[in-house]
């Protein structure tokens, strides 16, 4: 009874879906920009779980794992850029509430 037989692929996918839904919920409901960023991190991690799982269960190479590593690096970079933007929003608006940053409206 190996690990692969004990926990089929669907379990991982369900975990990923739950994580994704949570992240999306956070992104859509929080006002705080940092919280939204955390939600985005959750979404990214959910996709990482999917990548790794699919790689392990269906493909016979490690491209999924490699992709996941890329996503992690990109998430770090994105977080850095996002924090810089958030810092600028804070300096301009004296808050990090994304609903206040509505200068782009028509």
């Amino acid at each position: 009874m190996t690990l692969l037989q004990a926990y089929p692929l669907q379990h991982y996918l369900i975990i990923g879906a739950i994580l994704f839904a949570l992240g999306l919920y956070i992104v859509l409901t929080r006002k705080n920009a940092v919280a939204i960023l955390m939600g985005i991190e959750l979404i990214l991690n959910s996709t990482n779980i999917n990548f790794v799982a699919f790689a392990r269960y269906t493909a016979n190479n490690i491209s999924g794992q490699v992709f996941a590593i890329f996503v992690i690096i990109l998430a770090a970079a994105e977080a850095a850029v996002a924090f810089a933007i958030i810092l600028n929003i804070y300096r301009n608006l004296k808050s990090v509430d994304v609903d206040k940053a509505d200068d782009l409206k028509h």
Partner: protein, 675 residues
């Protein structure tokens, strides 16, 4: 001997080009020297060529020198080539010799003209064209010269174009000649069509090829000759051509250009001998013109007009000569006529020059004592043209009359008409002499208070004008001695000299009987014509010297005839009424009714139709195409207006939309997979 032939026409051409292009910047002396020098060079070269020909045996006196092939395709070859034979060498000598004298004379006559260089340029150009005409070895080259002299004639008649009449006279000469040239061109084309070549030598060799068409071709060529040589019915331009400077009248309208038609017929003798009909037409037209123009000359009062009609009349004699097959006699008369008629014109120019531009003989008179050289030379020329025995005109004219009487194509009626014409000639020429040079001067301008140093302002012309007169007078006297007929103990050299050129009709001109039996008759006819001439001179003397009241009385007695003659038989008016006005009417009809009315209407209708179509097309364009484009734009604007409400600037809204979109896409995706 043949290396310099090309120089003969090109020397005057060179002079013409220089004088016409840069002459006005050159000193007058240089212009005169250039013009006279080039033509004199031509004359010298012609003379050298002549002596070269004389040294050859009679049978070989033909030089056919080709310079390059002018037109050459599909078996047709027309060369730029010269044919030098006894006929063309005589013409060359006359053109360059008399031309040179007239060039010299012009230096004096045109001395004060403001377009001096242009005049000499034109005169040189004329000499060039005329030499091409007589030297060309084929009809096309001859035609080039033929048109060239026509052009120069037009340019020089209208030389003083400030006066409208002069310009009109030039145009008239050009247009009337155009009619003749059209016939000539048609004749040339027919000859080419049937004969297959235009070289004189080639045509003469194969004259049987076009023999069936000879009459038509001959008559068409003769139409050209009537235009260029001022015969009925196309003579009307020549009297008007006297509008040009007098030396021009002498050179172009007396000595050279107007004889081109005679030369052409003599040159085409091999064609004309095939067609007695055309020959008869030539002879009859010639003799009719001779008499007709002579009667008009009797009553004209303009000194140059009298000479113009005299020229027409003398040309008629030449055509009578060539028309009865006496080609050599026609050319002989052409030559002598060139001498004395050029002299008469130059003399009249000298008179006009001396009296300060007067041309009306009624205002002259008594010029004998003021202008002795002019008078004597004029008198010699008059005696020559009247046919006083011993002078040039007598030999050449009587030769023609004798041939008209005796040759196969001749007829005694032609002779009678010719003799009558000779009488008329003597009558009007001596009237001219008596009225102009004898008696008292009748011009108020010169009589009375403004006369100075006793000679009324009338003066003899300068030497540069009188020397050519004297030279021409000498030629008028001795010019006929090369053609003294056998019956008078001469050798008739000129006819023998020209025989090779007219080889085709030896059998025609030689009377059937021997010379001996006819000699008495020939002498008798000569005596008759001389008596007629002397009688005419006596009548002229009686009317214009003794009984000066008589001419007026005669005129009053027969007003109808006098007016008819004075108005030149109203030919100009008849032409005006019948041809010119009808042509103008036709042109107006064509222009205003047909062209403006119908053709322009069609064109305009097309234009209007196009405008209509374009209008419709434009409307369609604006309405539908532009409408579609604008509608698209409008739709985009409206939809943009509608959609831009969604742009709230709220990040979370956007995210929600994006997530919703993804959700919808996933649902669709799943549905597609399931189905």
């Amino acid at each position: 001997m043949q290396d310099y032939l090309w120089l003969i026409p090109l020397l005057p051409a060179f002079g013409a080009v220089i004088n016409m292009l840069v002459g006005r910047f050159l000193p007058k002396k240089l212009v005169s020297w250039l013009a006279c020098g080039t033509i004199f060079g031509s004359f010298v070269l012609s003379a050298i060529t002549f002596f070269g020909l004389m040294n050859l045996p009679t049978a070989q006196r033909v030089i056919d020198k080709s310079f390059y092939d002018w037109i050459s395709f599909s078996g047709i070859k027309i060369s730029f080539a010269f044919l030098i034979d006894p006929l063309s060498i005589i013409m060359m000598l006359v053109v360059s010799g008399v031309g040179f004298l007239i060039h010299v004379y012009s230096i004096g006559y045109m001395a004060d003209d403001k377009r001096y260089a242009r005049y000499f340029g034109f005169l040189n150009l004329f000499a060039f064209a005329m030499l091409i005409l007589v030297m060309g070895n084929n009809l096309l080259l001859m035609f080039v010269g033929w048109e060239g002299v026509g052009l120069c004639s037009y340019l020089l008649i209208g030389f003083w174009f400030e006066k409208k009449e002069n310009a009109i006279a030039g145009m008239k000469a050009f247009i009337v000649n155009r009619i003749g040239d059209f016939g000539f061109a048609l004749g040339v084309l027919m000859l080419f069509w049937y004969g297959g070549t235009l070289d004189f030598a080639g045509l003469a060799k194969n004259s049987h090829v076009f023999a069936p068409m000879a009459t038509a071709i001959g008559l068409l060529l003769f139409v050209g000759a009537t235009g260029k040589s001022a015969q009925i019915p196309l003579y009307v331009w020549l009297p008007d051509a006297m509008a040009g400077p007098t030396p021009v009248s002498a050179l172009i309208h007396a000595a050279t250009m107007v004889t081109a038609g005679v030369y052409m017929i003599a040159r085409m003798n091999f064609l004309f001998v095939l067609t007695p009909t055309a020959m008869m037409v030539v002879a009859i037209v010639g003799v009719t013109t001779a008499v007709f123009a002579g009667t008009i000359g009797l009553v004209q009062n303009d000194i140059k007009k009298v000479l113009a009609y005299s020229t027409i009349s003398q040309l008629g004699y030449m055509f009578l000569g060539v028309g009865v097959g006496a080609f050599a006699s026609g050319i002989f008369h052409l030559m002598t006529h060139a001498f004395f008629k050029a002299l008469l014109f130059l003399g009249s120019g000298s008179v006009i020059h001396g009296t300060g531009g007067e041309q009306d003989i009624r205002k002259m008179g008594g010029l004998k004592k003021y202008m002795p050289i002019t008078f004597w030379t004029f008198l010699i020329a008059t005696l020559a043209i009247a046919g006083i025995p011993g002078l040039s005109g007598f030999f050449s004219k009587d030769e023609i009359l004798w041939k008209a009487f005796s040759s196969h194509n001749g007829h005694w009626i032609l002779w009678v008409a010719g003799v009558f014409g000779a009488g008329l000639t003597a009558l009007y020429m001596f009237r001219l002499v008596f009225v102009t040079f004898y008696g008292e001067n009748r011009d108020e301008k010169h009589n009375g208070h403004n006369s100075h140093d006793g000679h009324n302002g009338i003066h003899e012309s300068p030497k540069v004008m009188t020397i050519p007169l004297i030279v021409l007078a000498i030629l008028s006297v001795i010019g006929g001695w090369i053609g003294i007929p056998y019956v008078l103990g001469g050798g008739n050299h000129i006819e023998h000299f020209m025989e090779p050129a007219f080889a085709s009709h030896q059998e025609m001109t030689m009377p059937a009987e021997s010379h001996q039996s006819e000699a008495g008759l020939e002498i008798m006819l000569m005596v008759v014509s001389v008596i007629v001439v002397l009688f005419s001179i006596f009548i002229a003397y009686y009317l214009y010297m003794k009984r000066k009241d008589l001419p007026v009385k005669i005129a009053q007695r027969f007003p109808l005839a006098y007016n008819l003659l004075l108005n030149k038989y109203y030919v100009d008016e008849i032409y005006q009424a019948l041809i010119v006005n009808n042509l103008l009417r036709l042109n107006r009809l064509l222009a205003y009714k047909i062209d403006l009315g119908i053709i322009d209407w069609i064109v305009n209708a097309f234009g209007k139709g196009t405008v209509g179509v374009a209008f419709g097309s434009g409307w369609t364009d604006k309405t539908f195409v532009d409408g579609a484009v604008n509608a698209t734009g409008q739709a985009v604007l409206v939809s943009g207006e509608a959609v831009n409400q969604t742009q709230t600037g709220n990040l979370k809204t956007y995210l929600a939309w994006a997530a919703g979109g993804v959700f919808v896409l996933v649902i669709l995706f799943l549905l597609i997979i399931i189905s």
